[in-house]
Amino acid sequence: MSLAKRCLAELIGTAILVYFGAGAAAITLMISKGSSPPNPFNIGIGALGGLGDWFAIGMAFAIAIAGVIYALGRVSGAHINPAVTIALWATRRFPSGDVVPYIVAQLIGASLGSLLFAASAGSDAVMVGGLGATAPFPGISFGQAVLAEAMGTFLLMMVIMGVAVDERAPQGFAGLIIGLTVGGVITTTGNIAGSSLNPARTFGPYLIDHIMGGPVLWSHYPIYVIGPVLGALVAAFLYDMLARE
């Protein structure tokens, strides 16, 4: 498979992830607009059904991720996440020359997904929903946000290593389990820093929000690079150490 085709698959997969996953967060904010959140830690997601709001968003991500993995996993590997690409490269499983093209494709795909969502849902998706952009919640420090993102991505990468990279893993379950893992992580840590776990997933909404007059959140972007990449690297190297005979 040519690099161009694989990059196109990464672009499409990441666009789907952001359209349906981040889109669910934006829709939740649009639905809860005007309601009175019970406390300052609640920005609207949670106003309708408490943690159930986050579970619903997590399931939207879970199903989108599972679908992309089953549909495009054989074409490009369906990383749809720069942190995963970097961790596979760092553990010598992914060629150096393909890393930058993959990440560029993921960033473009995420931006396209956000743009298509804004086109589908209208201006409120940008002005109210912020296109599902992630940011630390009130009272959460930079360090806490990085830790939450690193913890979530650590679990994600550990599961990828265990159910997909490891040749001893049972076949056919990877997409389902990895999707559900992301869904579970979002349910628990969504209200800390948005539970991005993915630099591309945050980049797309940030860029399109900026272009279309929505919130400008770039000052938070280092959280969503440092946390996910750190978590994925630790998980990949730790799994290799644990699984080695």
Binding site: M1, R6, R74, V75, A78, I160, A174, G175
Partner: protein, 69 residues
């Protein structure tokens, strides 16, 4: 072993292979040597088609079912 299809025609021909699907012994005239592509890898790595194909021998009736339905 004799070729089953030849035996149906009343001939006695030595079989040279066994059909991988139905298991009948077949002579050179009643077999098809098919080759199928083999892929390795898959999530989270792109699948790669291996250079060499996997050979398999089918009798002509089974080959016809596979390729013609």
């Amino acid at each position: 072993m004799r070729c089953y299809l030849c035996a149906l025609d009343g001939k006695t021909t030595e079989a040279v292979a066994i059909c991988i699907v139905c298991g009948m012994g077949v002579c050179m005239d009643h077999l098809v040597r098919d080759e199928i592509e083999v892929w390795e890898g898959g999530y989270p790595f792109p699948s790669k088609k291996l250079k060499r194909k996997l050979p398999r021998i089918l009798c002509k009736p089974c080959y016809a079912v596979y390729h013609e339905g």
